[in-house]
């Protein structure tokens, strides 16, 4: 989109400084932030966790928590400082002309009110003169506009009856109800699957083109920025690092931080051929000096595993209902990394947990290293042979918060499948290999960063001397720069420790970079599978194509 740069900005932040005040301390969270937003512009605000990007968004909407205080600088709307206005005027301005979309679509809507009622009350607040019939008409119109099918029926639905994507569309409809000038969207698509994310971003793009609304898009995802933003502001630790037009910034980043950030984003290669991606080059050495993995007998064979809906006893449901798995068959070669890709609800995590023996299945067969495992038994006589270890998604929840790291690791050695004569030696070797200082042994998990915790989790898994590691979305809770390090470590671990890995992810680029074979999951079934060259180059499966198309083009080679 071409903008008139000479035009006065709609919104400007000038040297905005915001501090967090608690009883004991005052600490700045934003320092001298400058930015300007023009009419019809989509401004991307990107940064890793703790960068202060959400604080900028909240300051603009006027929903800062009371502990956050604007200590200097100003927010100008159409040239007028918000701080200078009286409260009533400011509230009116914020409610009529600045709208908001939040990240978590499950929490943005009142669970007790139909979506129609929530939409009409927003319309009434914005345009009190409309008659009841007109209001309803406008509501239906908005629902239609954001792509809700059969809107007059959906009008009476409650939030829990809609899917995540639909709920986020309703949230967008509500944001549009007052025909605002600015929409502040805080991670509007992060909770959604890639295919849905693509649709929502497209919708936002169309709305900007149609209505001339401006959008401030707060995100951690470079892909989202590349897809839709006109200009980008990169933030770090409460400071603006760099800003400029999206194309310039992505192609010619000036600041080293921006460069690192961009380099860390995994890229998907759809042209077939040798993988030469420098970021993950180390991975390809796996078992290179050995015979070809494909010719060896598989270390893990899963055949015909089927799982029905979550078991309940006496009406107590123990676990949230998981999707059924239908007739899953797959295999893992020794020394290889096999990827499982799917969107949420595809059953990709469930199969990982069944292989590890943490969950049961109704029928099917799993053979690990030549030993048959009883998939249906609750007692898991075979499933927990100690030959499979897992690395989990959220490192914050993967370590016992009350045990020092050293104790956690020692448990792994003492009770692992291979007895170790010198636990401390084994631990120090692994710690060294994973780049963890020995001083961590006395620390508690909350004293470590997310990336460090995930390294400890890898160490714990390796110390138990497994044959197979199931890594369930091991990087999706981490910042993108940390993600690259962890992926590299996982690749190294496989090549050095002589283990095999099942790598479960929603991220095609990661899987492509890491895995020698890939299975695509959809709704509890394997719909496609093969080598990365096949999946990304020659597969004709419609769903596979759809997943590939949902990737941001900028990061596809």
């Amino acid at each position: 989109m071409i903008k008139d740069i000479t035009q006065k900005p709609l919104l400007e932040l000038k040297k905005l400084t915001i501090s967090y005040r608690s009883r004991s301390q005052t600490r700045p969270v934003l320092r001298n932030v400058d930015l300007s937003l023009h009419r019809g512009e989509i401004l991307g605000l990107i940064g890793e966790s703790g960068a202060g990007k959400s604080t900028v968004g909240n300051a603009i909407i006027g929903l800062l928590a009371p502990e956050f205080v604007q200590t200097s600088g100003s927010i100008l709307f159409e040239g007028r400082a918000l701080e200078g206005m009286d409260e009533q005027e400011r509230d009116a301005l914020r409610s009529r002309r600045i709208a908001a979309i939040f990240q978590d679509h499950t929490m943005s809507l009142d669970p007790l009110m139909s979506i129609g009622a929530q939409l009409t009350e927003a319309i009434r607040a914005a345009c009190p003169d409309l008659s009841g019939k007109q209001t309803r008409g406008r509501a239906i119109e908005l629902l239609t506009r954001v792509g809700i099918e059969s809107p007059s029926e959906r009008y009476h639905s409650y939030p829990h009856q809609l899917s995540g994507g639909q709920r986020q569309r309703v949230v967008i409809a509500i944001a549009l109800s007052g025909t605002p000038d600015i929409i502040v969207a805080d991670e509007p698509t992060s909770a959604l699957d890639a295919t849905i994310q693509k649709q929502i971003l497209q919708l936002l793009r169309e709305l900007v083109a149609e209505t001339g609304v401006s959008i401030i898009l707060v995100t951690h995802d470079m892909g989202v920025i590349s897809e839709i933003a006109d200009t980008v502001v990169v933030m770090r630790d409460g400071n603006v690092v760099e800003h400029g037009s999206t194309a310039t910034l992505l192609d010619h980043p000036v600041e080293p931080y921006t460069r690192d950030l961009l380099a860390a984003v995994p890229r998907l290669r759809i042209s077939s051929g040798k993988r030469t991606d420098p970021t993950f080059a180390v991975v390809n050495n796996a078992s290179a000096d050995d015979e070809e993995p494909a010719k060896r007998a598989a270390i893990l064979v899963v055949s015909g595993v089927t799982k029905a809906f979550g078991r309940t006893s006496f009406g107590w449901s123990r676990k949230p209902r998981k999707p059924a798995l239908q007739d899953i068959s797959l295999e893992l070669k020794p020394g290889a990394i096999t990827g499982i890709v799917g969107e949420s609800g595809s059953g990709k995590s469930t199969i990982g947990r069944i292989i590890a023996g943490l969950e049961t299945a109704c029928e099917g067969e799993i053979v690990i290293d030549g030993t048959r495992v009883d998939v249906a038994s609750r007692r898991q006589p075979g499933g927990m042979l100690g030959r499979v270890q897992m690395i989990f998604q959220d490192p914050a929840m993967s370590l016992n918060p009350r045990l020092p790291i050293g104790d956690t690791l020692a448990e792994s050695v003492r009770f692992g499948s291979a007895p170790s004569t010198d636990a401390r030696l084994a631990i120090s070797v692994i710690m060294d290999r994973l780049g963890l200082p020995m001083t961590f042994l006395t620390r508690y998990p909350h004293q470590l960063s997310g990336g460090q915790k995930q390294r400890v989790c890898i160490a714990r898994a390796l110390l138990a001397k497994p044959r197979i590691i199931v890594a369930d979305e091991p990087t999706s809770a981490l910042d993108v720069s940390v993600q690259a390090e962890i992926v590299e470590l996982l690749g190294q671990a496989v090549s050095q420790e002589g283990i095999s890995m099942l790598f479960i992810s929603h991220d095609l680029a990661l899987v492509q970079a890491l895995c020698s074979s890939i299975y695509i999951f959809q709704n509890g079934s394997v719909v496609d599978g093969g080598s990365p060259e096949f999946i990304f180059g020659r597969s004709t499966n419609a769903y596979t194509r759809c997943l590939i198309d949902a990737r941001p083009e900028r990061f596809t080679i």
Binding site: G357, M384, G386, M390, M397, N400, E411, F415, A464
Partner: protein, 291 residues
């Protein structure tokens, strides 16, 4: 829940009425311990009680020149001494029963959550059954079944209270068991006992601990109520509750002090415990400044 429970305990700062209630609670405990030394009279010793000085008003001077600051009760026992000794009984009963109830409840909750299946169903059915009834009713049923006596009262209070700890602990333990660190531990095939004691229990115990002061207050009130109804501790060794109860018949004839002062002492004790408990709770879990 907070990850560093001890940290938070250390860091909490005194505010407002909290130091006062803590000081008050401390005084109560000291006074209860020192009762035999500081009490002017031993109300259990019939030789020290002067029946002819019964129902003396506060400030009355007794035969040997001793002033009954808070008066005497219907049997001629000095109210100050009765309060001091009654405090011992009230605290003994409530502390013992609360401690045992907490241990039983936490164990039941953790075991139910970890093993699931029929163990869980059984434990939770009993818990549900009990918690769906008002505590006083459960206590009445228990005491009617068990009969009178201090040990029976303690047992009745344990029966009433363990379920609360059980439900709270089970809920937390279930959510902890859903976390991946316990999956990781299960994959290491640690012995069940070790998993329960080292992993599940320490991470599930904090809410139960914050319940203790509240439940202690409940226990004192419950013991007092049962004693008042004549189903509690025997009248020759009165707790605060039975002292108040004994004063009820004199209330109508204007001898208010027999029930007023022990009642005030009781209220002060329960209030001090509740304020301290509330403070602990909100410090530990700032989100649940509730109930």
């Amino acid at each position: 829940m907070s990850t560093d429970f001890i940290e938070t305990l250390r860091r909490r700062m005194p505010t407002g009425s909290i130091p006062f209630s803590k000081a008050l609670l401390g005084t109560y405990i000291l006074v209860a311990l020192a009762a035999p030394i500081i009490a002017p009279q031993n109300p259990y010793d019939l030789l020290q009680i002067r029946g002819w000085e019964a129902s003396a008003a506060p400030g009355t001077m007794g035969g040997d020149g001793y002033i009954y600051w808070l008066g005497t009760d219907g049997l001629g026992r000095d109210i100050v001494s009765t309060i001091l000794y009654g405090l011992r009984i009230s605290l003994l009963v409530s502390i013992v029963s609360t401690a045992i109830a907490a241990v039983v409840g936490v164990t039941a909750g953790v075991v139910a959550a970890y093993f699931g299946g029929w163990v869980d169903a059984l434990v939770m059915r009993i818990v549900d059954l009990q918690l769906s009834l008002p505590t006083i009713l459960v206590a009445l049923i228990a005491i009617v079944t068990l009969g009178p006596g201090i040990d029976r009262i303690i047992l009745a209070i344990i029966i009433v209270q363990w379920a609360t700890y059980g439900r709270v602990t089970r809920a937390v333990a279930l959510s902890e068991i859903g976390k991946s660190y316990l999956d990781a531990v299960r994959l290491l095939r640690l012995p069940k006992k070790r998993i329960l004691l080292r992993h599940v229990m320490p991470n599930s115990i904090a809410p139960a601990l914050t319940l203790i002061p509240i439940e202690l207050g409940h226990a004192i009130a419950l013991e007092a109520t049962l004693s008042f109804l004549g189903l509690g501790v025997p009248i020759d060794k009165p707790s605060l509750g039975s002292t108040v109860a004994a004063g009820f018949q004199y209330l109508m004839t204007g001898q208010y002090w027999i029930s007023l002062f022990p009642g005030l002492a009781l209220l002060g004790l329960i209030a001090a415990i509740n304020f301290v408990g509330e403070d602990t709770r909100s410090k530990l879990d700032p989100r649940s400044r509730s109930l």
